[in-house]
Symmetry: D2
Subunit: 382 residues, 4 copies
Amino acid sequence: MGMVGGGKDAFIGAIHRLAANMDGLIELVCGALSINPEIAEESGKMLFLSPDRIYKTYQEMIEKESQLPADQRMDFLTIVTPNFAHFAPAMMALEHGFNVVIEKPITFSLDEAKQLQAKVKETGLLLLLTHTYSGYPMVKQARRMVKDGVIGKVRKIYVEYPQGWLSRLSEREGNAQAAWRTDPGKSGKSGSMGDIGTHAAHLAEYVSGLKITRMCADLNIVVEGRMLDDDGNVLLRFDNGANGVLMASQVAAGEENALKIRVYGETGGLEWRQEEPNTLLVKWLDQPTQILRAGAGYGDRLSSYSIHNTRTPGGHPEGFLEAFANLYRNFALTLSARIDGTTPPEEALDFPSVDDGVRGMAFIDNVVRSSQSNEKWTEYEI
Amino acid sequence: MGMVGGGKDAFIGAIHRLAANMDGLIELVCGALSINPEIAEESGKMLFLSPDRIYKTYQEMIEKESQLPADQRMDFLTIVTPNFAHFAPAMMALEHGFNVVIEKPITFSLDEAKQLQAKVKETGLLLLLTHTYSGYPMVKQARRMVKDGVIGKVRKIYVEYPQGWLSRLSEREGNAQAAWRTDPGKSGKSGSMGDIGTHAAHLAEYVSGLKITRMCADLNIVVEGRMLDDDGNVLLRFDNGANGVLMASQVAAGEENALKIRVYGETGGLEWRQEEPNTLLVKWLDQPTQILRAGAGYGDRLSSYSIHNTRTPGGHPEGFLEAFANLYRNFALTLSARIDGTTPPEEALDFPSVDDGVRGMAFIDNVVRSSQSNEKWTEYEI
Amino acid sequence: MGMVGGGKDAFIGAIHRLAANMDGLIELVCGALSINPEIAEESGKMLFLSPDRIYKTYQEMIEKESQLPADQRMDFLTIVTPNFAHFAPAMMALEHGFNVVIEKPITFSLDEAKQLQAKVKETGLLLLLTHTYSGYPMVKQARRMVKDGVIGKVRKIYVEYPQGWLSRLSEREGNAQAAWRTDPGKSGKSGSMGDIGTHAAHLAEYVSGLKITRMCADLNIVVEGRMLDDDGNVLLRFDNGANGVLMASQVAAGEENALKIRVYGETGGLEWRQEEPNTLLVKWLDQPTQILRAGAGYGDRLSSYSIHNTRTPGGHPEGFLEAFANLYRNFALTLSARIDGTTPPEEALDFPSVDDGVRGMAFIDNVVRSSQSNEKWTEYEI
Amino acid sequence: MGMVGGGKDAFIGAIHRLAANMDGLIELVCGALSINPEIAEESGKMLFLSPDRIYKTYQEMIEKESQLPADQRMDFLTIVTPNFAHFAPAMMALEHGFNVVIEKPITFSLDEAKQLQAKVKETGLLLLLTHTYSGYPMVKQARRMVKDGVIGKVRKIYVEYPQGWLSRLSEREGNAQAAWRTDPGKSGKSGSMGDIGTHAAHLAEYVSGLKITRMCADLNIVVEGRMLDDDGNVLLRFDNGANGVLMASQVAAGEENALKIRVYGETGGLEWRQEEPNTLLVKWLDQPTQILRAGAGYGDRLSSYSIHNTRTPGGHPEGFLEAFANLYRNFALTLSARIDGTTPPEEALDFPSVDDGVRGMAFIDNVVRSSQSNEKWTEYEI
């Protein structure tokens, strides 16, 4: 693995490394870790990189790595720069034959995302988009249960993602995370929807197996002086006729990272909360609610997808980093199977791809367009 | 207390009696308990009514009771008939000088509600509308905290009311409750919004002290063959600019009566769930979330309104019937103070009135109108 | 109903009246509400008692009431005085043919309890002991599930009752409740075990259907200067060989009334918490944990005992007062069936009796004896 | 890192590797991964070990590694064999100058533990004992709060560890984990207390900063035919006079890994549950309970020990593997500081050592002795 961005003070780069390390399948071998050469150098040393593989720019890295023998060069490139700086290194990596991992949202614009999609299709390379939340075992469990018809036809989806960390105008108080994420030039057209609404939309589609077909969005700039929406509520319609609500807010004071989804079908409902991720509530019309737990020894009650993505027995909680690591592990299993010419388990193939990235960018475009419209319903275009 | 409706097999009439009994302040003295004379008779006997005060019709009851000496006749009339049969007895009772208690929604139409409002104003009589959920002590606590500015200016309100009991077409399977509640001729223009959405809207306005000013509604008939909406999602705007979402569903399979409200302000948030009503979560930007508990001995941390509406010490859970009894108790305290010429405690004056009833009917009208509109926002008219 | 004790400032008397009022089956008709004649008088007026039935002493009340015609006198006497003043009015009432309700613990000493037991046997009158917690519907549900073998043979019982209200030496700071409850002359041999440990022991035996056969107790006076134990931990053995732990503490700072029981059998476990009483967790060896909810529409999954003791549909929480009212309601149904010469439903016969009172007093005796012993195990004697 | 035991089908070895990998500070370089040479070979290959560092026995590994140049040999040896096979490799490693990591319990007997303690003292080498649960950030937080006097003098400790996985006689049904853990020849004198009771005892002493001084134990073989206790309840006394209860059971049907501790002091209480480890409840006498959350941005409310052991921001749950990784990370930071001649942060020095191992073995000895005694209290000897 090589890495673009993620220098010593960067948040998400460190998370990626923790996740990639966990299973002992992936090794960081090179990096262009900062646009500041000194930080790049220092960060590389801290991460025990070989001095000759600490690069100053991603261009340099991609070029030099591509000239190494196949068994020595990095197998894929991870891009953890701010949103606006995803596209160029991703495209260059693909063009030089490298597989790619990108932090979400995949690009700055839908058009860029489509270009990457085309390039992935053309090259046949793998691209992992790190929608972490669909890496949780009980999210996988929920998806399989819906797919297996356990709750009948889906009727209603309620997904919410309240955070409180932007309740103040922190971007003017020296908070670097807040600064770039609320800056339209770095973050994109939308704040709350780009940063967290896309996660919620991805989760809704992933769990339900449905696609959003239209929406009615109300995006708001709640904190005066902010440049991008920090809050939004969206009515949804899915391709089977189900209705839904998506809420994403960065100004829900006192909330941490309270992503939650509920899916109701004809005969039951599912509920999952990211802050207690090892539990999936299964509600029934005529039976008591059940508490399904990751890793529990229920025989065949847990799907193979849930089990494949769990490392410890029931009662040993796994968390965000393990969900993140599941993405990397599945990507690595798929990649190494490809290298070895073997077939990976079908469970390993289930990771977010460039197609999810295109859908995420389309969601942002559509939700912004809907918010600006006086019409109730905006058709989802892609 | 006299009662119209609420015969032996009726659900809500029994609840009203339990609530009215609890504090020993109110006695059921007469009733026209059913349109079926035999059931009326039998029900009256079961409730130990004096035989001469078991009436066949509400008209007979109001007339005869009004001819009794003031210290013998009923002090007020409680109306627990289906929605379409609220108005006539209420109006007649007011015209004959009786105070009135009505199960919500107050009437069948907004126009009827306004007529009652005018009559109440004219007569100076009291009218209690039994919006039970605002009788819970921790709901009162939440209202006072918002009013006192504890969480700063309100920014976002998220109120949801999922139930699952109409997930099947039960109205065709002999379920009497389901039959009248899904019948436009008995229930009104809206099903989910009339039955439970009004509770949610009332709660949102009660806790926040704000008024809804516009909305964007998506009402749905989810179960095929049903005649009224059984599900709806509504985007809201409040008079201070706060945004909100209201969800009410009777097809959220596996849910019981999961009313929940969250109110976020500049510096904190409040969260209350009806199914665990003695707890109010208070969330802070810079402090750990606090678990406020009804009846707890925190000195002056609980408002006098919360304490006034609590009967037992902390850790002795109170529930739905106590909340309901709080409405009756406050109504009775206000009424007896009026009879005695004394001043009731200000906490006793805080019960839902005809004005809340008018707002509830207006909510239904507006939400139905919005749902039928292609415009995103519908102004709240009254 | 007549009442001894429970004047205007008394806590538990008011609770008894709320509970007795609730179902409209019981009317307070007379009282000797305080040893202070002025308070007795004033309290009687506040409760709308007929002036000639406001008595100065319980002796006067029992004598005069017994001279009234059978259909006019009180049907039973409720005793809500402090522990030391339970026996005399109870015995006198029984001797005059009155049924009796007593707040727990039944008497001041085991010997008194046995005398009452003999008198009840002799007279055939009814005695209700208000062990409130066994009146909760989900406690009844748990008992029936154990009885029906749902979790197999019981292996382990874990019952805990932490409270924090005596964490300070409140009895010296003018807290009247604390004063009498920590006074050996008024409360009995034990503080924590007499006040709350007996509830826990009753609950353990009630739910499991087992009897304690021996114990190993560690009682402590934690707050310096206190005269009775305010904390205790007890190892238990039951008559089927199951082991157990009982903890009761009044110095568990920050706890309200956190009574909780867990019963583990060969194939599953049950868990119930008083502070969230409408939920019973049912745990399984090979299946997900289930959340059983009072009043839920599960067909025949809830026992008739649970349903009989529930007033509202699922999702409408019932609480402490309803559990208390269940005791009164069942007592009243049994009593009125007896008066009418009919057979009450078997569910109504399930209320704590004088036999439970004797067992409670024996528990206190045994636990104190064990605590004073250096031997590990003390046989349970009665 | 080198590893003894932990071949391809071993549970705990894989957990150790996940934990050691996570932070990128530790690399597995050699192993004697199984007593079965083929499995050792195969496992080594699966873990990408260099063929010449896949050893057949720990003796061979220790000898050969000790002959490598200092900068090439393993820095420490991790021992993840069953209990009876801890001592010999640990002693040999220490004698050859290697630091050691041992899965708990440290040895098979107290005597062996004391020998290791003496050897560690003599050599000055580091030994990490993997009591995972004290690696959780909110356990660290609890310890610091007690130490800082936040809840006043500790009065009562209630620690429980119910599991249900041995509810059946699984050791006779081919469950290898169950087989060795219930075999006195492999596991030691006690089953439940050796396997999980030691965790509970360690947690109680770690959080409270107190030492157990005497105990009264009731150990049971609940499942017929089992050779070691599978359940136990223990009354405790601590060195400041506080009382306590410790429960550990492997037959609590339906429980996963429900370790929980409550510590009550003069002015407040703390509660932590392993199955929801990112939350610490802080209870107060006169204030609402607070929900402290790992990683939350409360300024200085979270101790530096909690923060040091957290990798992600509030709301991104960390779990068992992160707690485990904290042990390794702190061990590695201390070790590398020692190698570099620098001073590690004081937070890194806080990991379980050989002294905790000795105390754990003493706990087992004492609890077994107490269980066999008819005296109530057994003094804690070491």
